[in-house]
């Protein structure tokens, strides 16, 4: 369960990215977060990820109050969530295989099981043949799918994706959404997906939260056609 209570975020340079956000997302939901550029979507994710601290209010994920989380405890918390970042954040000097493996090494997965799982998720995102390449020799879309593979490798309870299809063609995008839907359905993973792809939001209907200038503009529980 994700709970935002009267959350505001002001960056050090004075930019107000979020105002008084109240939000409740149940375990197992699949939610789109949409909104114009600069409306605070990434900021919302950074709060969830404990990368930034809320200036006001409280953020709670699976019973953990992120404001009170000690720095020492942050790594442990992060292992329970998977994040696909807008800028991928791949480790440049590791191969695709090693990048995904890293997420499993962190959680002390036994070596053989980990390597098995890496191969599994890489073929889920259709990248088995790029396993030994470095990120720099991958296309934008391939890098993005690596980031997705890494985020789902640990079967996190919460999966947060920022524009996971921003660099993908419509066909591949639909594949990815179906993959996420399957994960959501079969493993009960809560999924938060930030996207600009309105046509996707319209074809795969889900609960949709619309941000604008740091406020929640709309929270359409059954999704909806958005212009």
């Amino acid at each position: 369960m994700l709970k935002f209570k009267e959350v505001s975020k002001t960056y050090k340079n004075g930019v107000n990215a979020l105002y008084n956000i109240n939000l409740l997302i149940e375990q197992g939901e699949f939610v789109y977060i949409i909104g114009p550029t600069g409306s605070g979507k990434s900021t919302l994710i950074k709060l969830l990820d404990a990368e930034e601290k809320a200036t006001k209010g409280s953020v709670e994920v699976a019973g953990v109050d992120l404001a009170k989380l000690k720095p020492r405890k942050i790594p442990l918390y992060r292992r329970s969530i998977g994040v696909v970042f807008q800028d991928f954040r791949l480790l440049e000097h590791k191969t695709i295989f090693e990048n995904v493996l890293f997420a499993l090494e962190i959680t002390n997965t036994p070596v053989l099981k980990a390597r098995q799982r890496v191969r599994e998720v890489l073929s889920l995102v259709d990248l088995a043949d790029k396993a030994n390449d470095f990120p720099s020799s991958l296309s934008g879309g391939q890098q993005q799918r690596t980031a997705i593979a890494r985020a789902i490798a640990n079967r996190p309870k919460v999966l947060v994706c920022e524009e996971p299809t921003g660099n993908l063609d419509p066909a591949k995008s639909a594949d990815i959404i179906r993959l996420l839907e399957k994960i959501n359905r079969e493993e009960g993973t809560t999924i938060l997906m930030v996207t600009h792809d309105i046509s996707m939001v319209n074809s795969f209907r889900k609960r949709t939260i619309a941000l604008q200038d740091g406020h929640i503009m709309a929270d359409l529980h059954d999704g909806g056609y958005i212009e």
Binding site: D49, I74, P75, R79, H93, A103, R150
Partner: protein, 297 residues
Amino acid sequence: MNITRHVKEGFIGVLRHSAMSVSAATAVMITLVLMSLFLLLTLNLSQITKNVEESVQIHVKIVDGTSMETIDAMKAEIALIPGVKLVTFSDKNAELDRFIAAFGEDGKIFEMYRGEDNPLRDAYLVDVVKNAPLDIIAAKIKLLDAIEGVNYGGDNTLRLVSLMESIQNGGLILVSILWLLAIFLISNTIKITIYSRSEEIHIMRTLGATNHFIRFPFLIEGILIGLMGSILPILLTIFGYQYLYNALGGVLVSNLFILRPIYPMVFQVSGILAGLAVLVGLTGSFISVTRHLRWNR
């Protein structure tokens, strides 16, 4: 915790950032070459100082024809002077031997003075304790009865001894400063190499890696870079000193200064270099990774 994994990661890290690793190892190398040079110098200096100090002797010439009783009495008197360690009597004949020996091969021509014609005098050889005031002791001996002359080498011996001592002390201070600077330089270099990895560290942290997990492979990298950087200095130490020692015949300038034997010194110095490199590589990367970890959430 999986140590094998971390060690492997450390090796991979060094390989994948090879340009950086080589640069850092080069800096370590240069610093250690300096260290080695100074260690070898100081160790030899302390040896040589000891030699010089031990060889300081006051040479007292006795007036020709002095009776054996007087000679023995004076010997006892000299022995009582504060700072005198040992008084040895050396007769004309023995003096000629010493004189000839001092000239090596060329000395042979003085053999003609052997016997009645010997122009030398009976003498005392006075050994003194360390740091004894040579000039004052010499002056006191001179005031005795049947003394023809006293010679301790004059100011130059004083100079030599005090120079050797201050060189040795200065050397020790210098080597201590060098240790500090070397440690600082090496860890600073490793710090710089890790700056360029801050992005990497940040991403790892974002993925939920604990500080310990992130840090361990970097520590291995630090150790490896240290070791890589110490190979050449160690080889230089062992073979360079061996070569110099043999080329100089074990002495520095004409028998006056005896160098330290090659073994086990070169191995001790090598051990110190490798140990220093590893230690500083380790702490250097520990400190700088930790700093990057502190900056991030």
